[in-house]
């Protein structure tokens, strides 16, 4: 597809009017009051500590032997990899990771493909009943998950899929209201002339969607992929409902099983739980740093619809 991006939504370029003489009252003020500014930075640093330190604590504790897990030291006194070795032997971690990666990829790809198709149907076409139908899409967002929880379980049960990974992602093949809304907004933001031009050049409906609409909305597609990947990776309730055998567990489900076994059932091995928590969390942190800009911008746009 090297030849597609001939057409890009070019922002209307206006002649640069040069620096506008804005009275910069708010910008000069903090300079004059430096004690307030110091307070500002102290508050921001304190907040940073509160947000980051628990994660630092967790990683640090995972390198401590059992007797030191709760010593609240920043650096382990006797750093050890023993917890990682032991957890590798105690639980089928590789299997759980594999399951989770599979579910995450399938869930994210499925929801992105289906939601973008549906969003395109609502954004580009004009047909009778469109607004009513779209209202229905938005209305489903208001429905608490608890209402559909049990019948949905019964559907997968009837299909013989309880105990498999299918119920954790297959529902995403039908689009998801939130992403449909997000992607539709994005499609609507593309100047319609681009699609009219492509149409005149002979693109059919599918080509229009596949070769023009989708490439133009890549940022929104990435946001959808990332958001859903996070949701799928971190989900606990559905794995609790659908997975029975520990060989089918996802990592969060496995982590919960460890809490039950090592934390409360008399086996006090919190160092293993801490280590498993790090292993569960780390992929999300890595994903965040790779897709940071998309995450932050995605979250920021979420609120602007309000």
């Amino acid at each position: 597809m090297a030849s597609t991006p001939i057409l890009k939504p070019v922002p209307a370029v206006e002649p640069d009017p040069g620096p506008v003489p804005v009275p910069e009252l708010s910008r000069t003020r903090p300079k004059r009051r430096s004690p307030l500014k110091l307070l500002l930075w102290l508050a921001l640093l304190a907040a940073t500590a509160v947000f980051v330190y628990p994660l630092v604590w967790l990683v640090s504790a995972s390198f401590k032997p059992q007797s030191e897990v709760f010593d609240n030291r920043l650096f382990p006194q006797t750093p050890t990899l023993a917890n990682y070795v032991e957890i590798w032997n105690a639980a089928p971690l590789a299997l759980w990771m594999g399951n989770t990666v599979l579910v995450t990829v399938l869930a994210a790809v499925a929801v992105t493909l289906s939601s973008s198709m549906v969003a395109w149907g609502f954004a580009y076409y004009r047909f009778r009943g469109r607004n009513a139908l779209f209202f229905l899409v938005l209305a489903t967002m208001m429905l608490p998950g608890a209402v559909t929880l049990i019948p949905t379980f019964l559907i997968w049960n009837a299909l013989g899929q309880v105990g498999t990974l299918t119920p954790l992602w297959a529902g995403n093949l039908f689009g998801s209201a939130f992403y449909i809304f997000l992607l539709r907004q994005f499609f609507l933001g593309v100047p319609r002339q681009i699609f009219e031009a492509a149409r005149t050049d002979g693109a059919n409906d599918w080509q229009l969607f596949r070769h023009f609409a989708l490439p133009l909305c890549k940022p929104a597609l990435i946001v959808t992929l990332l958001f859903e990947a996070q949701a799928a990776w971190t989900d606990l309730m559905r794995p609790l409902i659908y997975l029975r055998d520990s060989s089918t567990f996802t990592v969060p489900r496995g982590l919960k099983a460890m809490v039950d076994q090592f934390g409360f059932a008399g086996n006090w091995h919190w160092e293993l739980i801490v280590t498993a928590s790090v292993i569960t969390t780390l992929p999300m942190i890595v994903m965040f740093f790779i897709g940071q800009r998309h995450f932050i911008e995605g979250v920021a746009t979420t609120g602007l619809k309000g």
Partner: protein, 309 residues
Amino acid sequence: MDTARTYRLRKRNRRQTRNALLFISPWILGFLVFTLWPILYSGYLSLTDYDVLNDPNFVGLENYRQLGEDPRVLLSLRNTMFYAALSVPLHIGIALLLAMLLMRARRATGFFRTVFYLPNMTPPVAVGILLLLLFNGHNGLVNAVLGFVGIPGPDWTTDSTWIKPGLVLMSLWTLGGSTIILLAALNNVPRDLYDAALVDGAGPLRRFTSVTVPMISGTLFFLVIVNTIAALQSFTEAYTAYFGAGNGTYSNDAALFYVIYLFRQAFEYLNMGFASAMAWLLFAIIMVITAIQYVVGRKLVFYEGEDGG
């Protein structure tokens, strides 16, 4: 040329509806199978006794009558309300404060914004575990810090009075998302409004109440509604920390949220009919609360373009 174009256009119009429906068909199918049918069937199940193994046994409104008689339904409802009433205002208030601080951090805003969002990437299961460890009454970090400033911390994870406050405090750890949303809203407030207010002699507090709050009230309203609905359905953190497979041994009634109790009724005790009735009660409660918030919000929210200013 012209006739060809008209022909194409007419053909296009004829096909538009069909093609639109083709694109939308995944959602329509999903809506029918995974939303509409479940709603109807859940309504039916709520009128039956059903344990998955045997056929549903119609019992009329019996489940709904039992909702009022089961003390745990009331208890879990009270727990959930308490949690929502405490966590939502704190969550939004602190997020707003942080967003306003971030506005003044200039070039460092991007850095702090990223850092504040980091906890939101932590899986809720891990948040539940962090809650148990950090808030541990004997050797947890929270009490260590409290002790440092001379406050004897309570047994957050075992004392029934302190379990919910502990859950609330832990939930505040993940308010970075709301902070980012509010920051975006604050950035959208036109600068000249502040300058005008300054010229009119408005102090910082007055500028906050007369410019900032009205201009971001739409976003605040959105956050209140979304966070309330989420808080009323909170499950994973409390379930991880206080309930599980070896249930009974460490389950704690003080942490029994409504959806946790619903989950246990449905999938641990297999009382699917009763759990369905619980789901409908929750739906009704969420609807009523959202409606109240909507009515109140419509009076308070300032929308640009309305006369006023």
